[in-house]
């Protein structure tokens, strides 16, 4: 399969949903990817199974502040510079790239490098959604090393990180990104084809495209875009359950910054007026609760807030009082729900005291879906 210009908007729409409120606005990534494909031609998309076991497969993505990224725009060669340096360090050619996280703008970040270097994109990613920090990637959960890792800036500056400790890698990378002006490109967790097959979230890239396409087609046919989205996600096999938690309006929104994260909560009141749902976020939406405290969805399951007319995802930094929204939850890929993964990306990792319960059990969707 080839990734062509006309799939980029679908990909951006699907990636925004999988961002679960985070990952930044994919708009600029969309422009960059389209320009690269128009100039250099379509990009091959490879199923993980088609990778050679000894191929070098490299996850890519932007690290930094979304607010800075809309002002300090990419030069365009950051990813290429980083990948070339990695090839030099590893002494071998890269066989394929993938997004470190499929959610939000990073779901498109690797496309410009793939086009420039003539590399295929592996149909997978490292998170199955968006998470705030690098060590939340499935590759860390599986015990792989983030290094060697290369960070590059718009001005051509480049830094190599080499440390056995993935948490330290995240801290160093964060500091370098700030030094480079608050936004930088990072290649990390270099994998063999075998490791990619064993550990990456397989199929998430094509799932994002399918989700976006489903929303677009439903809009065109005046059908329910969220039902179409749920159908496409279920069909992907990665996100087996997806449904609306509440249909309403934003009646309260509070934000603050804590330890470099944008944290806050938003309250959505049902259009029928009989219910409210509170969503807590830390860059990404993390937990949705009824007024009486009953939890309806929690991380790592996905919680996205969508415009109720267009089904466009509204990222947490763009939430505003009065918006008319549907809050949609989706089951996370099974790999993120395993007990070892939950210690790194489950409720406890974000400071919640609740034990993780899958969204389909919290909402009794399971029985309905068996039909």
């Amino acid at each position: 399969m080839l990734i062509d210009v006309h799939q980029i908007d679908d990909l951006a729409c699907g990636a925004a949903f999988l961002g679960s409120g985070g990952g930044g606005d994919p708009y600029y990534g969309t422009l960059l990817a389209k320009a690269a494909i128009e100039r250099l031609g379509p990009i091959p998309l490879l199923p993980l199974a088609d990778l050679d076991d000894d191929a070098l497969v490299v996850p890519c993505g932007w690290i930094g502040a979304p607010t800075v990224s809309v002002e300090k725009l990419p030069n365009g060669r950051e990813a290429v510079d980083g990948l070339r340096k990695l090839e030099e360090i590893m002494g071998r050619k890269i066989g394929a790239v993938m997004p470190i996280e499929i959610g939000g703008g990073n779901g498109l970040a690797h496309l410009i490098a793939a086009a420039e270097l003539g590399l295929p994109v592996a149909d997978a990613d490292g998170m199955g959604r968006a998470f705030p920090e690098s060590q939340m990637a499935i590759f860390n959960i599986c015990g792989l090393s983030a290094c060697p890792s290369v960070i590059t800036g718009a001005d051509g500056s480049l830094r190599v990180i080499d440390t056995p400790d993935n948490l330290e890698h995240e801290r160093i990378a964060r500091a370098i990104s700030i030094e480079m002006g608050g936004i930088a490109h990072m290649v990390e967790y270099p994998l063999t084809g075998r490791q990619a097959k064993d550990h990456a979230i397989a199929g998430s890239f094509s799932a994002a495209i399918a989700a976006g396409a489903a929303i677009r087609q439903a809009r065109a046919q005046k059908a329910d875009p969220i039902a179409a989205l749920a159908g496409a996600l279920a069909k992907s096999g990665l996100y087996p359950f997806c449904d609306v938690l509440i249909d309403g309006k934003i009646v309260d929104l509070q934000r603050e910054t804590r330890d470099g994260f944008s944290v806050g909560r938003v309250i959505v009141s049902a259009l029928t007026g009989d219910r409210t749902l509170e969503i807590e976020f830390q860059n990404e939406n993390l937990c949705a609760r009824e007024r009486d405290g009953t939890v309806r969805a929690m991380v790592p399951d996905l919680i996205s807030i969508l415009d109720r007319e267009t089904a466009d995802t509204i990222t947490t930094e763009r939430l505003a009082f009065g918006q008319r929204v549907k809050v949609v939850a989706a089951a996370a890929p099974a790999r993120l729900r395993e007990s070892h993964a939950l210690t790194l990306v489950g409720p406890a990792a974000f400071g919640f005291s609740e034990t993780y319960v899958p969204v389909e059990i919290l909402n009794n969707w399971e029985n309905a879906a068996v039909v």
Partner: protein, 532 residues
Amino acid sequence: MRIGVDVGGTNTDAVLIDGDRVIATTKGATTADVSSGVSAAIERVLADAAVLPEEILWVMIGTTQFTNALVERDRLDRVGVLRLASPSGDALPPMTAWPRDLIERIGGRYYMLPGGFEVDGREIAPIDEHRIRVAARELRDDGIRSIAISSAFSPIDPAMELRAAAIVAEEHHEARISLSHEIGRLGLVERENGVILNAALMSLAATVVASFERAIDQLGLTAPLFISQNDGTLIPADRARRYPVVTMASGPTNSMRGAAYLTGAKDAIVVDVGGTTCDIGVLVGGFPRESSISVDVGGVRTNFRMPDILAVGLGGGSRVHFDPAAESGVRIGPDSVGYRIVEEGQLFGGKTLTASDIAALCGRVGFGDPSRILPLPEAMRDAAWARIEAMVAEGVDRMKTTATDCDVIAVGGGEFLVGENIPGVARVLRPANAAVANAVGAAIAQIGGHVEQVVDYDVESRDEALARLSGIAIGQVVSNGGDVASARIVDIDEVFLSYLPGRSAQVRIRAVGDLALVQSKDKEKVALGNAD
């Protein structure tokens, strides 16, 4: 006393206000030269109120001329763009993703030059004065006079844009320079898009503002002229000449502000019914709720502060179709006879059944002659009216933000299409002079000021930062012609930034103030004050 004028595509409306009383109103046709329509409207309100030109202290005009020019790709200048941010942004050149016909129309010339700032104030690259000079000379030699300059993080530090403008002016004496930090918020692509559109409007702005000034001069008015901005506040005419793009969406804003003024309501839903569509917006604290999504202008993505408006295809001139395929057997619009309703509408003896005719049959319309409407079975009349009511109700419901009942204010020439029974609505208010609410909104507007910066509260305390930025916003109100004593902060918006050291927040502060008493000879002073 003050005069407010709204120059729409079809109508030019004017009102004369004394203190807080509307003492004369008029509705006339917009003329091809604009000027004669404006002067006729002002002349009529002066005559009706028996007021002398010298008694008028201020004239305010809201206009859709600039929006129409951008949408129709008409009367636009060729533009040269200088962006100071390289090597950042080289992958996204100016005008990326613009409609091709618009790029062709304005020439698509750009220079990506070194410069710009980081979020923490460091330079991305030093400014290259020589390359700016070369660019300015090339544009001069090619006869391109409208120049747009953008630079990374210029809303926080405009120094490079200002320096580049000075260099361009030295090399290119006829250059008319637009600077991105003067109009936009953070988001380089959207802000730059806005300033390029602005540059494309320079010749038209000069013509339009001059035609307004001519209209006023001809009548012997010496009052200073102000133009309505998108957010419902005013800027001096000279600033509108340089930054016309900030006045583009003033129409719906003025209607809503006028509706608030005429009813005294602060929180309500405004339904402004025109000939072809009705615009539904939400008043919060007397001001329109702003749209939170990026706004496309003529196919170009911008980040202007625009009111959140839902346009519904229902107006006084909307055609009525009895269509068995439609859900309720009847469909209203979206096609409309528009301003030709006075010839084509049945209550004026025409042949087309319009929404106004249905309202007239229901006894809701005070003009025309309902006896001329062709016979229509009662059931069909009722079905059509029910459909009109449903369209209004659906639109109001989509814009409502609370489950409790709200008030609706019906304004515009077609306000009679808003029925009394709207689910979830407590009262439908129909103020006197509802038909000219937009001109009232222009007339009562205040002077605005606006500042946006990124602040690190670990470096500057929150209180100090908010006080400093409030001072800047108030200073803008004063330099735009506002009265310092009445100037006040109306909105503080803080968004905390993730992944930055310290406690950084993006802070936006908006201030408004009443118009200061300024004699016309001080116009120059007012304009000079804008430079900071």
